[in-house]
Assembly symmetry: C2
Homo-oligomer: 341 residues x 2
DNA sequence: CTAGTCTTGAGGTACGTATATCTAAACTGA
DNA sequence: TCAGTTTAGATATACGTACCTCAAGACTAG
C-alpha cells in the first residue's frame, strides 16, 4: 500500500501535526525537525494524494484565459475548445474564465492583466503581444504566485512558467519544403499571403519559409508579402491583382488567417488549379479546399491540444507535480488530402 | 457550489442511504423511488465527484496491457511509454501490468487472455491478432465486466469498447500521395518493403498505397512487396537485390519495421540518394535518415499518445464518464526534415 | 531562574462519497 | 389481519489530507 501522512509521522518519529506543517510549508518547525520529516518522506517514497488533498482543501483551480478577439480563426478555435472544456469541467474542480481583448492591442492587454486580482486566480494563460507593459504585467502576477503560461506566441522575458505552441520558424520551413518539392522541376515565384507582419508568428513563419526557399530551391523566388489583415475581401483583392501582374507564379503560401480569400481566388480560374498551395490551420474551409485539390497541404496546430496542455501545465505548476514532456509538446501537423482526421 | 449527494437526498425527499442505493445500483429500491432520485439528480445537475468516490472506495484501476514481443520498434516504443507511465502512476491509483506475448502467435495471445482473472482486473488493452480464439477471449472478459480497448490493430467483432490507433489504409494513401508528388515528372517503379503480409496494418497500408498510386500517379508502378520480417539483414538483402534487378526504381515505401535495412542499402551507393523514400515510425534511425536526406518523409503514430489515450479510455469506461473525442483520435503524423519534434 | 517565545503533540472536524448495520415503516399475500 | 417481506431511514465509520485549537514541553534572553 501507498504510504500516507500517518506513515511518514511514524517513520520520522513526530506527530501528524508536524508532518502537516512541513508538507504545507507552515512556520513553527525547527530546521532539524523539517529535515527529519523530509528524510522520512524520501525513505518511504511518500507522494501526497492530490485528489484527497484537493478534497480536503476544497480547492478550485481558478484559471483565466486571455485571448485576442477578432476574426482570426485559430483564436476562435481556441475559444471553442475552451467552451467545450468548460462544459465538462464540473468534474475536475476547475473554473475557467475567458477574457477577450482586441487583437494586436497591447494597451488593452495590459489593462486586462491589471484588472486581474492575484488573490482570486491561481493560473493564467495568455496569447501575448510582446511589449514591455505586458511583460511587466505578467511578471507582477508571477511574483504574486500566479502560474502563467503563454500560448501561440511566446514571451520568455516575462518569466512565464511555460510556452504552449509550435515553433513557427520550423512551420515556415516545413511549408517551404512542401511547396519546393511539390513544385518539382517548375521554376517561378511564390506568393506569400499573411495577416500582418506585425504579428510575431507570421513573421517567424515567413522567415523560415524564406530560409529554405533560398537555400534549397533556387528555382523558386518569394514575392513580397501580401498583408490581408485576416480579411477575406482584402486577401481576395490583393492576391487576384498579384496573380494578374505576375505571370510566373507557381505556388502560394498562406501564412495566416486568410484562407477564405485565397480559396475564392483559386476557384475563379481553372488555370489556378495547377498552383501549389500550402496554407495554415485546418478549418472547414481549408479542409474542403484540401479535399477538392485547391490546397495541396495544410499545416496545423491542434487547438484542443493546446488548451488541454495549458490547463495541465497550469495545474501541475499549482500542485507542484511533474509533467510528461512528450504530452505537452505541440506538433507541427501536416495534412494532405489523405490523412485528414 | 456543486450539489452533493446530500442535496440530492433533500431534493428527492429521501434519505442519503437511498440516494446511495440508486447511485450505486444496489437492490432494494422501488422503481418509483429510483425515478424520484434520478429526477432530482437531473434537476440539480448532480455529478458524482469521482476523486472523492475513488478515495472512499479505495479504488485502484488494475490495467493490463498485452503487447507483442520481438524487434518491432513501434511495440518497443509502446513498452517504453508504458514504463514511463508506470513510474509516474503512484499518483493516480493506477496499477499497470504489462504482458508480452510472442509476435504473430495467436495461440499465445489466447493463452494470455485466458490466464487473466476478470475479478482482479478492471481494464485490458491489447494489440490484437485477428483470430476466433482471440475474439472469444476478449468477448468473455467483456462479459465479465472488464473494459477492453484494442490498440494498433482493431478487432470490432470482439465487442471491444474502443480502438486506439490510426487508419492504416489512410496512412498508405498518405505515403502514396507524398511519393507521387515528390517524384514529380519522373516515371518508374516503387519498391515496397514490409514486415509481413500476414499483419493487418501492413496489408492495409499497402492497399491504400496501391489505390492512390494507380488512381493518381500513372507514371508510377508498384513492385511486389518485399517481406523483411522486421529483420535488418533480410531487408538489406532483398532490397539490394531488387534495386540491382530493376534499373528504373524511383521510390521506396518502407511499410513497417525495416528501416535499419533500408537505410543501410541507401547509404551504400550515392546514386540511391535520388530515390524518394517514405518510411513509417519515427525512431532514432529514421530521424537521422530524415535529417541526412536519405528519407524524404516519415509517417508516424505517437506511441505516448496511444498509451495515454488507452488509459483514459479504460478509466472513462470503468468510471462511466464521458470522453473528449478530439483528445482520443490518433493522428497520422507526417514528418519532414523541418518539423521534427 | 523566570518570563516569554518557539516548537511540538494530541485530538478533533471537515471535504464528498461508499458502505455497513440496525431499526422502522410500508407493502404483500393468504 | 397478521406474519413475512420489501423498502426506506438514521447513523456511524472510513478513505487521505488540511487545518484548527489547546496544552505542554523545549528553548532563549534577561
Amino acid at each position: 500500500m501507498r504510504p500516507t501522512v500517518h506513515d511518514v509521522a511514524g517513520e520520522a518519529g513526530v506527530s501528524l501535526a508536524t508532518v502537516d506543517r512541513v508538507l504545507n510549508k507552515r512556520a513553527g518547525v525547527r530546521a532539524a525537525t523539517v529535515a527529519r520529516v523530509e528524510a522520512a518522506i524520501v525513505r518511504l517514497g511518500f507522494v501526497r494524494d492530490i485528489a484527497a488533498a484537493n478534497l480536503a482543501k476544497q480547492r478550485v483551480y481558478h484559471l483565466v484565459f486571455i485571448i485576442p478577439d477578432g476574426p482570426n480563426s485559430f483564436m476562435r478555435a481556441l475559444e471553442r475548445e475552451l467552451e467545450q472544456v468548460r462544459s465538462n469541467s464540473v468534474l475536475d474542480r476547475t473554473e475557467i474564465r475567458v477574457v477577450k481583448v482586441p487583437a494586436f492591442d497591447s494597451t488593452a492587454l495590459v489593462a486586462a492583466l491589471e484588472s486581474l486580482d492575484p488573490a482570486t486566480i491561481s493560473g493564467l494563460a495568455l496569447v501575448a503581444t510582446e511589449t514591455v507593459g505586458v511583460r511587466d504585467g505578467v511578471a507582477r502576477l508571477r511574483r504574486e504566485g500566479v502560474a502563467v503560461v503563454t500560448m501561440v506566441s511566446d514571451m520568455p522575458a516575462s518569466g512565464r512558467d511555460h510556452f504552449v505552441g509550435i515553433d513557427n520558424v520550423a512551420a515556415g520551413r516545413t511549408a517551404a519544403g512542401l511547396i519546393g518539392r511539390f513544385a518539382g522541376q517548375r521554376r517561378g515565384k511564390v506568393a506569400l499571403v499573411a495577416g500582418s507582419m506585425l504579428v510575431r508568428d507570421h513573421v517567424e513563419r515567413r522567415m523560415g519559409f524564406d530560409q529554405v526557399i533560398q537555400a534549397e530551391f533556387p528555382a523558386l523566388e518569394c514575392l513580397p508579402v501580401l498583408e490581408g489583415r485576416d480579411d477575406a475581401e482584402i486577401v481576395r483583392e490583393l492576391l487576384a491583382q498579384c496573380l494578374e501582374r505576375e505571370p510566373n507564379i507557381v505556388g502560394i503560401y498562406s501564412i495566416g488567417a486568410g484562407n477564405r480569400g485565397v480559396i475564392d481566388v483559386l476557384q475563379a480560374r481553372p488555370a489556378y488549379r495547377d498552383l501549389v498551395v500550402v496554407a495554415h490551420e485546418l478549418t472547414d474551409h481549408s479542409r474542403k479546399a484540401l479535399r477538392e485539390g485547391l490546397f495541396d497541404a495544410v499545416i496545423n496546430q491542434d487547438a484542443g491540444h493546446e488548451i488541454r496542455s495549458a490547463i495541465r501545465l497550469l495545474k501541475a505548476r499549482i500542485d507542484g507535480t511533474r509533467i510528461v514532456d512528450g504530452q505537452e509538446s505541440i506538433r507541427i501537423e501536416i495534412y494532405l488530402r489523405d490523412n485528414l482526421p
